[in-house]
Amino acid sequence: MSDQAWETLSNQAVAASGVVYFLALLAHLVQWSVLRKLPVSVGAQSAPAAAADASGGVAVVTGPATHTHTAEPRDDEQRIELFGRLGLLLTGIAGLAHALALVARGMAADPNRVPWGNMYEFTVSGTFVVTVTYLVLYRRFALAWMAPIVTFLVPSLLMAAVIWLHKPVTPLMDALESPWLVIHVVSAVIATGAFTVGGIASVLYLVQDRRLRKGEVSDRGYLARVPGPAVLDRIAYRLHAFAFPVWTFAVLITGPIWAHQAWSTYWNWDPKEVWAFITWVVYAAYLHARSTAGWKGRNAAILALVGLATLWYSFIGVNFFSTTSQHSYAAPAVVVTPEAR
């Protein structure tokens, strides 16, 4: 295959995965619209009532109920199960297309390279990590409740990437020609994906926390099936606790090593570095807050979301709002501005 054909394939695969993600979203919406009408006790039999207590990791399981009494809910349950599985299957297929898009993107370059040389590619990689994180943890953390959010978020980000960030495949600029491109960016992408999924859990934590505080205890609707605050808090913490060391590795170890090789200074307070540092500090504060009286719970979750905002800003905002950044790879070649002699 020619490079051009690979590039076309990649573009088509991104489009296809976006469409399939959207179909998955539709399937999940059908699933949840049926679930909405039923009380929580139905359609969640395999989730114990104690799910919301502090020790479990499960809240919503959309499998079939074992003992229901009327025919109608049974019908609904079948639809719930059908569409739930369909959504998951479609998400998996979309994920495969997504992976294909990345591979093809790498093959399209001459010489072949890793598919994260610019922001478009980084976004496509980052959203892929979100999908993979979600799918891998789906069973372990019982993330059925996250399905509509992920299948909405990922295609939206992909669409934004295609519309605003898309660039044809170009050879890498010299500064990027380094093994650190693989190590540094992979770890940054993984951390970004995991932080994002963790952020979703934190948002829902805040929503649930507020709902419980207000004493809304409806047993119907979407929120009734989202796990309780304690479980969400733990899921969020686990994801953040995973992402934080990876982020540390990306920002404070591989970043400086590479920066020293490419730009001669291991830490130059370049805007991207500044914001990566800010992100690191905020997430460090989150981890501390979670174990500090008066900060745990709500404030910690807010900190996690502040961290997520700084993370996304350091990824996208810096490139748009700061022209000096050495990380803004829109401008190739080296510009020289020597001081006056």
Binding site: T170, E177, Q261, G294, P332, V336
Partner: protein, 580 residues
């Protein structure tokens, strides 16, 4: 203060303890104390306690994040001085305020330093006492089993036919196998009916290592900033550079930098090449920059070391001792010879022109102060690949495919005679007049390599010989870099420990109960991470693995063997099966 002001008490007033901060009775000694009043010592202790509290540390962390923001918005002197001076020119009103606030140098400013130094003081104040606590905890025995194990949130119980002693022996074996530390108990004394076990001490060790490593990073970072230097120099291909303060175009030393630390190397840039992308995406950009250089590690004195060669590329700096040489830019230097009106060579050799844009459309100045009868200065533009498109001069790309110099000519006092320093990249036109053609329009040289143009008014002639590339090199010495890097790596290791090691306590109590033995197992998670239930299920499964005679529903070995399954079905926990 809630109380109205009263006459202040004399200094040295002996007061009670710091605890009467609240509106309780005043100090016990003679003079009455106002509520909230502290002796200096108490005040210090109170301040220290506040400073080292987690809450303060959190606020300082967030302040640090906030304080770092301006540096990414306002151009920084240390990052891009050109951009900073441009910004200052554009914002004459804000500049004095920003300068006073140190906003052009955020990361070296006193207030930024104040935040991170306070943070580190807070950190040390928090960590040092914890070192002692940890040291004692390391040597302490796991605590004895609570009287009522089933009251713990994570507990379970079962009945077995094995004797209590057998169960406890098995429990010791199982827990030791799971790398628990066991409490030594007197076989006859109290607590002999239970096994107490604890594991995960390394979590706190990781935590301490993480925080102490940050100090190492700070020291390494400070060393780089204080003792190191960073200099930039433009070296024309074929020219040599010898390391010394005067050789640099710009030089940024640390506050404690010592000139004698500079290593006495020298090098010659032999060549420079770049691959230009001529078609397809990325057309007109360059990559594969390559500057072969030959260098000697010690050029001083007679015992100069032998010459070595190195292929300097982006991402491949040359390390000479502790100093690194980086290729960070390139450009063109037209070789121009100016002959004056008397036929003598008044200026010659390559002159560095500075790129104005990505396509290496460059600007430069050539001065010939010794020319007679009048001084000559040329100012103008260099097109690496010139093209005339519909009468407009256009530069096609950065490669020097069709070089052209287009310059204006000035004569008169070109500003080099009064001895004041002059930039070689700019021409002071105050004492000059532009050379005109006979028809009164400005005279303009447009010459390609090999061409010579005679100047009007018998001033002389200009010959454009050829073009040579120049390289911009950054040379820096960063002591403490490896220390900082090692600190971060150590911090990461500690971080992993503090995040993923789960400190836990497990107790197993067995006592005869009717025909069989009642076994109670309880666990306590000390990390806040929480899934002690799975651990407990595994322990119970292992305990019962050999004598599974009275299996009860809920936590069979097969399920408990899979931590995820056990976690997803927390039936064995929270519900005290036996004593509910």
């Amino acid at each position: 203060m809630s109380t109205p002001p009263r006459p202040s008490l004399p200094d040295g007033h002996a007061g009670g303890t710091a605890e009467d901060l609240s509106a309780g009775p005043a100090g016990t000694s003679g003079a009455p104390r106002r509520p909230g009043e502290l002796t200096p010592r108490e005040l210090l202790r109170w301040l220290w306690r506040q400073l080292t509290s987690m809450r303060t540390a959190l606020v300082l962390l967030l302040l640090l994040a906030l304080a770092a923001v301006p540096g990414s918005v306002v151009p920084q002197e240390g990052v891009d001085s050109l951009k900073t001076s441009n910004w200052k020119e554009e914002h004459p009103d804000l500049t004095p305020i920003y300068e006073r606030l140190g906003l052009f140098d955020v990361y070296d400013s006193p207030w930024f330093a104040a935040i991170y130094l306070l943070l580190f003081v807070s950190l040390v104040g928090c960590i040092i006492p914890r070192l002692g606590v940890y040291w004692r905890a390391l040597r302490a025995q796991p605590p004895a089993a609570p009287r009522n194990l089933t009251r713990l949130p994570d507990s379970t119980a079962y009945r077995t036919d094995a004797s209590a002693d057998e169960v406890l022996a098995r429990a010791r074996e199982v827990l030791r196998g799971r790398r628990y530390r066991l409490r030594r108990t007197d076989p006859a004394g109290p607590g002999a009916d239970a096994v107490s076990a604890e594991r995960g001490h390394l979590r706190e060790a990781g935590n301490l290592v993480f925080h102490l490593s940050l100090l190492v990073v700070l020291v390494g970072f400070a060393m780089g900033g204080l003792l190191g230097y960073r200099g930039g120099v433009i070296v024309i291909v074929g020219d040599s550079f010898s390391n010394g303060l005067t050789s640099y175009d710009d030089f940024a030393p640390g506050d404690l930098f010592d000139e004698t630390d500079m290593e006495p190397f020298c090098f010659t840039v032999e060549d420079f090449s770049a691959e230009w992308v001529m078609s397809g995406p990325g057309q007109g950009t360059a990559r594969g920059f390559r500057a072969p250089i030959s260098y000697r590690e010690d050029c001083a004195g007679t015992d100069a070391s032998e010459a070595k060669s190195y292929d300097l590329r982006v991402n491949h700096p040359l390390s000479i001792g502790d100093t690194d040489v980086f290729l960070i830019g390139h450009g063109y230097a037209p070789v121009v010879t100016i002959r004056d009106g008397e036929g003598n060579v008044a200026a010659g050799g390559p002159r560095v022109f500075l790129p104005q844009s990505q396509d290496f459309f460059s600007f430069g100045v050539i001065k010939a102060p010794d020319a007679k009868p009048g001084q000559i200065a040329l100012e103008g533009l260099f097109y690496p690949t010139f093209a005339n498109i519909d009468g407009d001069p256009v530069n096609i790309m950065g490669d020097d495919k069709n070089p052209l110099l287009s310059m204006s000519v000035y004569t008169g006092d070109i500003g080099l005679d009064n001895g004041s320093a002059q930039s070689v990249y700019a021409l002071d036109k105050t004492g000059t007049e532009q050379v005109m053609k006979a028809d009164g329009k400005p005279f303009r040289l447009d010459i390609a390599p090999g061409q010579t143009v005679r100047l009007p008014d018998g001033l002389g002639s200009v010959t454009f010989e050829r073009v040579v590339p120049w390289t911009r090199l950054q040379i820096s010495q960063t002591p403490g870099m490896k220390l900082a890097l090692g600190g971060v790596v150590l911090a990461l290791v500690g971080l992993l420990g503090s995040l993923f090691i789960r400190p836990r306590r497990v107790w197993v109590r067995a006592r005869a109960d009717g025909a069989g033995t009642l076994v109670e197992v309880a666990g306590l998670d000390r990390s806040g991470g929480g899934d002690v239930a799975a651990e407990l299920a595994e322990v119970v499964a292992a305990l019962r693995g050999t004598d599974d005679t009275t299996a009860r529903g809920g936590s069979g070995p097969s399920r408990a063997a899979d931590p995820d399954a056990a976690q997803a079905t927390p039936e064995a926990t929270g519900t005290n099966e036996e004593d509910a």
